[in-house]
Point group: C2
Chain length 351, copies 2
């Protein structure tokens, strides 16, 4: 493996000093890029892209050719894990992910097996190795997985949902079945993330996309307990380098202290949180990643630059900030605005 | 007007001691009740119910006949204000509210007039008077309105939305037009709420349903600034009694200190917030209302009682807590479970 030329992202996630604030974007490789849309049209569907390691690698590299990003992220989907468990993932244009066999009964949960990633998700691990090789040490590669709670919610609903009524009914009516499912997912995610690290992932991000729909009590019992177990069981060093872990919980601003106690190195923040306030609350323990509203990218260069400066100012000086959006970039964004954004983070954080 | 027999809700909102924790539910009058669904079928559509003061009064009373609630709430909708401004509100079964003439241009905003509630929303004020009379002093009547930001978001999108992309584009591209709209809505809501108070509303709740989609910066500028202006301009005493104001901001847990600074008497909390933590942060300044996840009502009496006890315990002893759900009750809830819930709040808070 080539030596890492730009280790700004790794350093910031470990709260070590850097010459400027590193930046990457959730969903940076994807639909906002015309070159991605072209590949997607040729491939037919989203999963065909994920399942082809060479295409996945090409897509992960695309945003790096356009923007001076400080990290690359594996091109894949959090739902590959339930897919490998037999739920039959598929995508319907404009409707998001769906499962052919969502979980309906206790028996459905009992019959699930913990995955063996080297066998069941070979295509992802090959995409990781290939992307790492292709990066050639330019920037670090971020691997990722969904949190057990977030995966469970999709598996029970069979698709995304506005209020996750079915999942919450399990939670309050049959918590023991839900716990059984979460335990199997936890073991699967540990296996999956450790396999990604061994294949070349240098940073790990756990997406707890639906943690924020839980009550304060339920969040601890059904989400945080399992992400903590995952973090405890991850390989913390690989090839003599620490592997930082980012825990991103959409709408998790109320729980920063709890999230910081999970053992993660950095907390991913959505845009509702004040970075200054978050730093005051947990900045001694963890780095912070975020948190511009992706909607800002729909405006104009002046507004984008203003918002970047506001966010940098809100965090203040010193190490421990990775710039990112508060959620994934949306497909309607003009790449020229993204270039302005990335440039602005680098320019204004250097001052 | 009859003297108020149960002033437990008013007292708690003003942080005065009570013998037990008062309870009411957002959307307590509505689709979870078979007697409501029957009236609705007869009337044809939702707005016909709102526009008929006698029917609106009957519906507001329905939950009080079933449950020992400590407050009644006006039966109406937050979107009556934009409707009165000429946007043409209508409801499609299963799709929620829509506007025939959503705002599309600066000109659309310029041509809007501030409402005169006595003329433009007579039917609501008549529903307030009639419901207050029908209550006959049993419990206080809660009036309400949407926050300017929340109303503006619906007016610009023309309906509910997942990410309010159009509204956020205005916010970051044309903030001055959005401010013009918010100012007109603020004047309209002040007029509307003061008219409700003069017609008999004894508590006011402002619903900032979509405040929580804003960034930390934008929340202050586009939502809080206007709710603060409203609160400053509301009649604070009527018929020798203080009129408490509740500000409910869905997903506003990050901003409790700011919300408390608005001048409201109580903050409405969704279920993601720890009551204990919220009380520690702002309990000296305001009362707290909330915050059970309505999904708990879908479970069973044991789980409901457990959750009620947890929430009461989280707030702790002393005055200043009004029990409520963290959002509106959903149509699929069995009224028997609601009875268990209300009973449990009264029983366990008396201990």
């Amino acid at each position: 493996m080539s030596a890492l030329k730009n280790d700004c992202l790794l350093k910031s996630l470990l709260k070590e000093p850097t010459s400027r604030t590193p930046v990457w974007m959730m969903r940076q490789a994807g639909r906002h890029l015309p070159e991605y849309r072209k590949l997607r049209r040729q491939a037919g569907d989203f999963m065909s892209l994920c399942r082809d390691p060479e295409l996945a690698c090409e897509i992960a590299m695309q945003p790096l050719l356009r923007y001076k990003l400080d990290g690359a992220i594996l091109f894949s989907d959090i739902l590959t894990v339930p897919d490998a468990m037999g739920l039959g993932l598929y995508f319907v244009e404009g409707e998001g992910p769906k499962f052919r066999k969502p979980l309906r009964t206790e028996r459905d949960v009992e019959s699930l097996s913990v995955i063996n990633s080297k066998v069941d998700l070979t295509y992802v691990l090959e995409a990781v190795s290939l992307t790492r090789k292709e990066l050639d040490g330019s920037v670090p590669l971020i691997g990722f997985a969904g949190s057990p709670w977030t995966l469970a919610a999709y598996m029970i609903e069979g698709k995304s949902s506005r209020d996750f009524a079915r999942t919450k009914t399990w939670l309050y009516q049959h918590p023991e079945i839900l716990h059984q499912l979460l335990q199997k997912l936890t073991l699967s995610v540990v296996d999956y993330l450790n396999a990604q690290i061994c294949s070349g992932a240098q940073v790990i991000q756990i997406f707890d996309t639906w943690g924020g729909i839980l009550s304060d009590f339920a969040y601890e019992e059904f989400s945080l307990a399992y992400t903590r177990e995952i973090i405890t069981n991850l390989i913390s060093r690989h090839n003599d380098r620490e592997v930082p872990i980012v825990l991103f919980t959409k709408s998790g601003g109320n729980w920063l202290e709890k999230i910081a106690s999970s053992g993660c190195n950095a907390i991913g923040l959505d845009w509702t949180v004040s970075l200054r306030e978050a730093r005051r609350r947990v900045g001694a323990a963890v780095a912070l990643q975020g948190n511009m509203d992706p909607a800002v990218l729909r405006s104009n260069p002046e507004s984008i630059e203003l918002e970047v400066q506001r966010i940098l100012h809100s965090y203040g000086s010193g190490s421990g900030h990775v710039f990112n959006l508060g959620h994934g970039i949306t497909p309607d964004i003009d790449p020229r605005n993204v270039a302005v954004f990335v440039e602005a983070v680098h320019r204004y954080s250097r001052d």
